[in-house]
Amino acid sequence: MRDFEVPRHASQTVLDVVTHIQRALDPALAYRFACRVGVCGSCAMTVNGVARWTCRTHIDKAVRNRNEITIEPLRNLPVIRDLVTDMREFFDKWARAKGSFQGDRSRRDDFSRIPSEGASRKQIDAAIECIGCGVCYSSCDVVSWNPDYLGPAALNRAWTLIRDERDTASIERLRAVAGDAGCHSCHTHMSCTERCPKGISPTAGIAGLKREVSLALLRGQL
């Protein structure tokens, strides 16, 4: 842990502070960012013990006392250097949760017509804006206790596909997200929901997965 003094500016973000440190005080500091406007999800770090997207976190919000903040890499992920974590496991788990769409239509077929007011479309809308920043994964106690656990982001992604009427891999996906490494390990602590910068509730999606897995089990489909 190293201390730096950074000049305070109006509307300054945590990412501005990190950038100032690298440009003016320590050119060797490693950190990750791209868009700076809360779209790409690459700048998440632990700020005063809480995982946050640093580009949209104002210093005024993050400073607790004495004008000091502590900036660390995300938790629950291996650190490559300084503030950069290795996100491979995080995204590999999306693949393990069968997080990619599988349909049965070709370009010669007509468009699917999904009413925007439909119940499943609304559930998808509530969960689809994930930017893959890793804040939920870093905040999840179950991930830290059970490294096999797929985590809130991957399960949330699976949930959006389970609700997608066009998707044809529901049963395989339910198999992938069931059990000790999947939705059944969630303790509903809701840290993911509290910390998600996009206001998504992975907890709600995971609860939905538990329901869908149980129904598939009762129907003998698992």
Binding site: R175, S214, L222
Partner: protein, 112 residues
């Protein structure tokens, strides 16, 4: 253990929790009600001995505990001690048998 079996265990734990919620309310309610004017052990036994209703009720209670507790313990052992695999499940099957055995011994004890 397959994901299907793990999901079944989860359903069994939720179902047994629902049974336990009811059993605990009936058990505590009856106890508090029956003991208001003071009640000796022999008076309690005179009510439970030969009562098929209480035998059935407490048998369900004990079996729900024997299902519920080891499944919960399964997560605790993984998350606190990192214990996973077949050895943990064999141990927990033993816990279930001990809980059911001791519990049923007590149930039969107040029935017979």
């Amino acid at each position: 253990m397959s994901a299907k079996t793990q999901s079944l265990l989860w359903v069994a734990q939720r179902a047994s929790a629902a049974v336990l919620a009811l059993c605990v309310i009936v058990h505590l309610g009856t106890m508090i009600y029956a003991i208001r004017g003071g009640l000796s052990a022999s008076e309690i036994l005179s009510r439970t001995q030969g009562s098929v209703g209480w035998l059935a009720f407490y048998s369900v209670f004990v079996l729900a505990v024997a299902v519920h507790a080891p499944i919960g313990l399964r997560s605790v052992l993984l998350e606190w001690l990192g214990w996973r695999g077949a050895s943990r499940d064999v141990f927990l099957a033993g816990v279930a048998i001990v809980l059911a055995g001791l519990g049923m011994r007590a149930v039969v004890g107040v029935f017979a």
